[in-house]
């Protein structure tokens, strides 16, 4: 069964909390990784690699630059056809 947006969001929130120390509850769809969540360009690489492992997807570097907000990432991972 495919993961819901809420499940993907919860998983990303755990990752952002680990990497940047932001409370998971603050990691919302409209938040910008750089401007709101203290995820700089280096930490974004960590978030991507951790998300790839958690959700079993591949996120090429060319696509990473389009992932500005948490919502962008959730949508991307959902479309990549994640299954639990």
């Amino acid at each position: 069964m495919a993961l819901s947006q809420q499940e993907i969001l919860a998983g990303l929130a755990e990752i952002v909390n680990e990497v940047a120390g932001i409370p998971a509850s603050d990691v919302q769809m409209d938040k910008s990784f750089t401007d709101d969540l203290d995820v700089d360009s280096l930490s974004m690489v960590e978030v991507v690699v951790a998300a790839e492992e958690k959700f079993g997807v591949r996120i090429p570097d060319d696509d990473v630059k389009n992932l500005k907000t948490v919502g962008d990432a959730v949508t991307y991972i959902e479309k990549a056809g994640v299954t639990a």
Partner: protein, 419 residues
């Protein structure tokens, strides 16, 4: 001394004072506890209980007393190498003591040294690469392992914009950081400079590598007695870890802002041996030149000096070479100089040693007391110096020297005056 042999370094530029001290060491998580540990003669050396230590020829070291994660937030610490964590802790303590001066950031510099840099990050990342592949190597690896990483991290923490530097001269690195900071202020490039040294190299590879040089003590069964500078039974140094930091300021700047002045960096002497990549010149000729240059740079004579904080690491060759050099430069005046070797207490802090020991030197001349050298039961016949043993010794007022030498033939002597 005739004109031809007179050291070319001469005192010039602005007077430079010390307004803040910071440290995290094997005997204390700050300057006050480290100083109390030194006075009490409390050793920071212990047995390494990690599994990896079991097969090493050296299984003792001086671990930091307060782990950085007890002080720093997890998220801040996770992108800093252990050497950077120590540096940040020491620099923040020094900056706080200086009263967090509201200096123009373009007049604020940082000079933070390390002997080896982020070696544990380098080696652990290599393990990750081999075991899990390139994609799992952290994007923070390079900023954590680069030798200028601690300087850059402290510079970022303080938003310093007058220049951030990293002298690398093995175990003279920390003292050289103070020397570079001194020159930055004397020359007018900065008004305030945070100088420091840090080292976090207690890992099997550095231990095995220093042991391969036969530079380390293998007195594994007696860790508290292993670091014994000047003693006949000494057999090498004990690796320590930690950091020290000092805030230097142009005297007129510190006075104008009403800062509490703790002392003065009155001069520095630097030389290189040109003798061997690691072994000290047995006659200590490079050390002689550094001592002479330091005195000349500060405008002092040997008879002015009351105390020397010796580099003395507890190696058979190095301790005697330094002792001979001091006697040669000081002559009969050496009888009036109280010498101590704090590596007997907290081990050899490598790139941090020169700063932590400069701090101890400053506290000695301000409080008129010199901590003891531990384990000096039977002094080497070639060490003709007045070394403090067992209990702290009262000290007459006056300036002091702090010595730091490094593999590669680096010699740095700092001249420190009391407040």
């Amino acid at each position: 001394m005739d004109a031809a042999t007179e050291p070319v370094q001469s005192r010039q530029g602005r007077q430079v004072v010390v307004t803040g001290l910071g440290a995290t060491t094997p005997i204390g998580g700050d300057v006050a506890s480290t100083w109390q540990g030194l006075l009490a003669g409390r050793s920071g050396v212990g047995v390494l209980t990690e599994e990896w230590a079991a097969d090493l020829p050296v299984r003792i070291a001086a671990r930091i007393e307060v782990e950085p994660l007890e002080v720093l937030e997890r998220v801040e610490a996770r992108t800093l190498d252990r050497s950077q964590q120590f540096a940040i802790i020491a620099a923040r303590e020094a900056w706080a003591q200086a009263g967090r001066p509201e200096v123009d950031k373009e007049r604020l510099g940082v000079v933070f040294a390390s002997g080896i840099g982020g070696v544990t990050t380098l080696l652990n990342s290599y393990d990750t690469l081999r075991e899990k592949g390139a994609r799992r190597v952290s994007p923070h690896t390079v900023p954590m392992l680069m030798p200028n990483g601690p300087a850059a991290a402290v510079g970022l923490d303080l938003q310093a914009r007058a220049g951030v530097h990293t002298p690398v001269s093995a175990c003279a690195s920390g003292a050289e950081a103070i020397a570079v900071g001194l020159e930055m202020i004397r020359g007018g490039r900065a008004d305030v400079v945070v100088c420091g040294g840090t080292e976090a190299a207690i890992h099997p590879l550095p231990l095995a590598a220093f042991a391969a040089m036969r530079a380390m003590s293998t007195r594994n069964d007696e860790p508290l007695r292993a670091s014994r500078p000047y003693d006949k039974a000494r057999d090498g140094f004990i690796m320590g870890e930690g950091a020290g930091a000092v805030v230097l300021e142009a005297a007129e700047y510190a006075q104008a802002r009403g800062a509490t002045i703790l002392g003065e960096i009155a001069g520095v002497g630097i030389s290189s041996d040109g003798y061997h990549i690691a072994a000290p010149d047995p006659e200590g000729r490079g050390v002689v030149r550094a001592l002479q240059a330091a005195l000349s740079n500060a405008g002092l004579a040997p008879s002015d000096i009351t105390h020397i904080n010796a580099h003395a690491t507890s190696t058979p060759a190095g301790d005697v070479a330094e002792a001979k050099a001091i006697r040669e430069v000081f002559g009969a005046a050496a009888d009036g100089v109280v010498v101590t070797a704090p590596k007997s207490t907290f081990g050899h802090l490598l790139g941090a040693a020169g700063v932590v020991e400069a701090i101890a030197t400053l506290l000695s001349i301000n409080e008129h007391i010199v901590p003891p050298t531990l384990n000096l039961d039977d002094k080497d016949d070639d060490v003709d110096l007045d070394v403090v043993t067992v209990d702290p010794r009262p000290l007459r007022p006056g300036p002091a020297l702090s010595n730091a030498f490094g593999f590669g033939g680096h010699n740095v002597v700092l001249v420190i005056k009391p407040a």
